[in-house]
Symmetry: C2
């Protein structure tokens, strides 16, 4: 499906598929995906950073810029730290953002249900679903520092770390080991005092990275989501990074690593799902009793679980 | 097998079983265990604490005290932070400790190979193997603060946190959330200045715990592994805790939780083992290529992995 071909019906279908993926990231949704997926063609972008740096506003401005360049865009808002929002907040956001009539924009919140290491289990599949539906750009917006951020960055082609003046995000980022994974730094709210100082800090932090000749050197950009200033250059930089990934062969390598990791996360998720099923039908209680009595060993019980 | 019945041959057999468990925590070793295991009867004690507090010396003194009371004892020394030692260092320790001719003492280092969340995958099985071999007391000695300590405590009936004067272990312990899991605090090197202050700190830290009437209240003891001072009272306290666990019903509850957790850890370990097998025989490369080309989805690949 090409941009512009989408209609209200396909948006509803996509919405239902994403709900199915959230309900059962491993089961039904996955088999549908195998049918529709034709290899990942979209440019997958992660926007990450501490709460309050203006990620949502910057995402909206970026969506506007992508649309101005004639491309379709899907947004997944992942907040592993908060419980399921049910999409109501996102619904408000879609209305506020002015994209509600644009079929080439799809915005969706992802619950943290079935979280795999901080990342919603359904997120990698949701990226594939948006890709299969023909979206040329997929933006994953995430909140939270630490492992959840690292996990989200791991499923993106290009990672943007969003910081804001005077929030000490540079320090937080380097602490969490995020700096190593960042492809573009954006100092947002660049109209506020301290933006230039924040840019200097981030330049110093990223200068520690060992970048070889010919490798991508992460730029530090000033942006303002509210006014749209600097958002064009941010998208320019993202496009340049995509070209770099393709020509250097790094895209295939990154994606191969990602698919391997996704597969591993799904397998561990399946173990948890099996254990939950055992818990619900009483088999777990029985197994624990047998282990206590010595007629079963935990490893043998695990083997039964895997086979069941 | 009762204490005293052990001979050199059975010690060698046990050593070989533990090696088999380390080589393949999930495979061969586990099936042997199911055959010999008859329910856990030993008192399983964890000794944990930061490096330098004298855990090894205190363990040796505790082993001596257990033997003086006519019971057999197996020791597993787990250091998840260090690579496999091959047992050479432990061999030295056994020689130094003076137990080399005592068949009712078995000392073994556990490698961190196949680590499950910081804990050697083979450790829970090794505890069961020592129990099946008739050891009445099993001591797990571990180094390292954080998750690895929590994991080791989770497989013990009684957990002793070892601290030393002026090392700030009280603070470290409360930071890592270990205090909640500790049954007995031991301020070791009690002959050094600051021992009484350290005891006061630990008493304050543990006083924050919400202990209901009739529940075990963790004592804070002064010990000196080098001179043996306070080691008798430490073992008294451990025996009192074992009686408490049995009479309160907490032992069954703790062990049920532990067996469930062990089972889960083994299942996740099996996933990793399957993935490693796929990596070695090239199936992983094939699956990743199929995913990249869109003929396979990561979730479907995970399902194949689980079934294979």
């Amino acid at each position: 499906m090409l941009a512009g071909e989408r209609d209200a019906r396909s948006a509803r279908t996509l919405g239902r598929l994403l709900t199915a993926l959230e309900e059962s990231p491993i089961g039904a949704g996955a088999s549908i995906l195998t049918t529709i997926s034709r290899g990942l063609r979209a440019h997958v972008i992660a926007l990450t950073g501490a709460p309050g740096v203006g990620k949502s506003t910057l995402t909206a401005a970026l969506v506007k810029e992508v649309r101005a360049r004639g491309r379709s865009v899907g947004v997944l808002a992942v907040d592993p730290s908060s419980p399921r929002t049910g999409g109501a907040l996102l619904g408000d956001r879609v209305r506020m953002s002015g994209f509600e009539l644009d079929r080439d924009v799809f915005i969706r919140s992802m619950s943290s249900r079935g979280a795999l290491g901080g990342l919603s289990a359904a997120t990698p599949s949701a990226v594939r679903a948006l890709d299969a539906a023909g979206f040329e750009t997929v933006i994953i917006e995430t909140v939270g520092v630490g492992q959840s951020e690292v996990d989200v960055c791991a499923i993106a082609d290009s990672t943007v770390l969003v910081a804001a003046p005077g929030m000490g995000d540079d320090v937080q980022a380097s602490k969490a080991g995020i700096v190593e994974l960042v492809d573009i730094f954006a100092v947002n709210k660049a109209d506020q005092p301290g933006a230039v100082a924040a840019r200097r800090h981030l330049r110093l932090a990223s200068a520690d990275r060992d970048v070889r000749a010919g490798q991508w050197r992460p730029p530090v950009l000033l942006t303002c989501g509210a006014t749209g200033e600097g958002v064009g250059p941010l998208l320019d930089s993202l496009e340049a990074h995509q070209v770099y990934l393709r020509t250097s062969g790094e895209l295939d390598q990154r994606r191969a690593e990602r698919f391997e990791r996704e597969m591993e996360l799904f397998a561990h998720g399946m173990v948890r799902a099996k254990l939950q099923a055992w818990r619900e039908d009483g088999r777990l209680t029985g197994a624990v009793r047998d282990i206590a009595q010595g007629s079963l060993d935990p490893a043998a019980a695990a083997l039964l679980l895997m086979q069941g």
